[in-house]
């Protein structure tokens, strides 16, 4: 009786290990970029994770979902990030030139000191809404791997395109303009 129970226990243990191996193999074989950026760039239009964060540029909070009906260019940045410094003036330009079309640029500063972030905004004369997430919890939802990253979100809160790294070259800027048009067209 005891040896039968032992056999059953060994069978269950071997079965569990085999199941874990199957799951590992399945996840490796199906790793086609399950993260948000890859889904967006495949055209899947995943829903942008909502957040409510404190404003850096003024008092109060900003809830992403409150911007439904507008196209949102969500830029993840930090003051210590060197490519972010090159990108910031261009994002300000996008905000000023497209805001009347219904485009909102939102800068999400993370893993940073508030004071440094405010100095950065002053230095580059940023006038678009800025929010602060010191611990960087929001980054997990966006599967962000570094700074900067930019997500273009359509009027219904779905991610149309994602940019890992600064949107600085002509090709990337053209892609951003095209993604904004696509986000506005929904």
């Amino acid at each position: 009786m005891a040896s039968r129970a032992r056999l059953v226990a060994q069978g269950v243990a071997i079965g569990l290990v085999a199941l874990l191996f199957i799951l590992l193999a399945w996840s490796l074989l199906n790793d086609d970029g399950g993260d948000l950026a890859k889904q967006a760039n495949r055209g899947d239009r995943p829903t942008a994770p909502d957040f409510t964060l404190e404003r850096l540029d003024r008092d109060g909070e900003l809830e992403l979902s409150s911007l439904r009906g507008k196209a949102v260019v969500l830029n993840l940045w930090a003051s210590w990030c060197i490519p972010c410094k090159d990108e910031a003036p261009y994002l300000e330009q996008v905000w000023r030139s497209r805001r009347d079309d219904g485009v909102v640029v939102v800068g999400l500063d993370a893993k940073d000191f508030r004071s440094d972030a405010r100095r950065f905004a002053d230095r580059f004369d940023l006038t678009f809404p800025l929010v602060y997430d010191g611990p960087g919890h929001t980054l997990d939802g966006y599967n962000a791997t570094g700074f900067p990253e930019t997500f273009v979100i359509d009027r219904e809160g779905r991610v149309v395109a994602a940019f890992a790294g600064a949107v600085n070259g002509e090709v990337e800027r053209a892609r951003l303009a095209s993604a904004i048009d696509e986000a506005l067209s929904t």
């Binding site: 210590w80 893993k111 940073d112 000191f113 010191g134 611990p135």
Partner: protein, 149 residues
């Protein structure tokens, strides 16, 4: 005389305590107790830009006379409790301290139960003075006699 020696000892201990409390916090100690939010290693192990910025912040706050706790609180206010290498000993952070203890206790109970169960399953050892069947004893004696001859 004994009373005087006691007073001296107590005064010395008090002065040592006051001196320790008044001493500025050590930057190296703090860097070993705080975590870089980007690379998630302690600050003394990291040279990420934000870690360097945090080290500069710590030194500036020490120079300004801040206590160790004040510096930690200021960094938690910026980066959250994740910045502490050791979880806080209260609230949700208390779980990080209690769960390993609970796991040890549960493990000890499980091991104890298993040992008890195994020792019962074996049954009592054969009695030392147990007699052989007379017929079997006779056969053994005959075999032994034949072996000796």
């Amino acid at each position: 005389m004994t009373r005087l020696a006691g007073v001296v000892v107590v005064a010395t201990l008090l002065l040592a305590g006051i001196a320790a409390a008044a001493a500025p916090p050590d930057a190296a100690d703090l860097e070993a107790e705080l975590v870089c939010p980007v690379c998630e290693t302690t600050l003394d192990q990291s040279n990420a830009p934000v870690a360097e910025r945090m080290k500069a912040f710590i030194r500036a706050r020490i120079a300004a006379g801040a206590s160790e706790q004040e510096i930690k609180d200021a960094l938690v206010a910026q980066f959250g409790t994740e910045v502490l290498a050791k979880p806080p000993e209260g609230g949700f952070g208390l779980l990080a301290w209690l769960l390993p203890l609970a796991a040890v206790v549960v493990g000890a109970v499980v091991v104890g139960l298993l040992i008890r169960s195994w020792s019962r399953r074996r049954g009592p050892p054969p009695a030392a003075d147990e007699h052989l069947d007379p017929q079997l004893e006779r056969l053994v004696d005959e075999e032994l006699a034949r072996f000796d001859s």
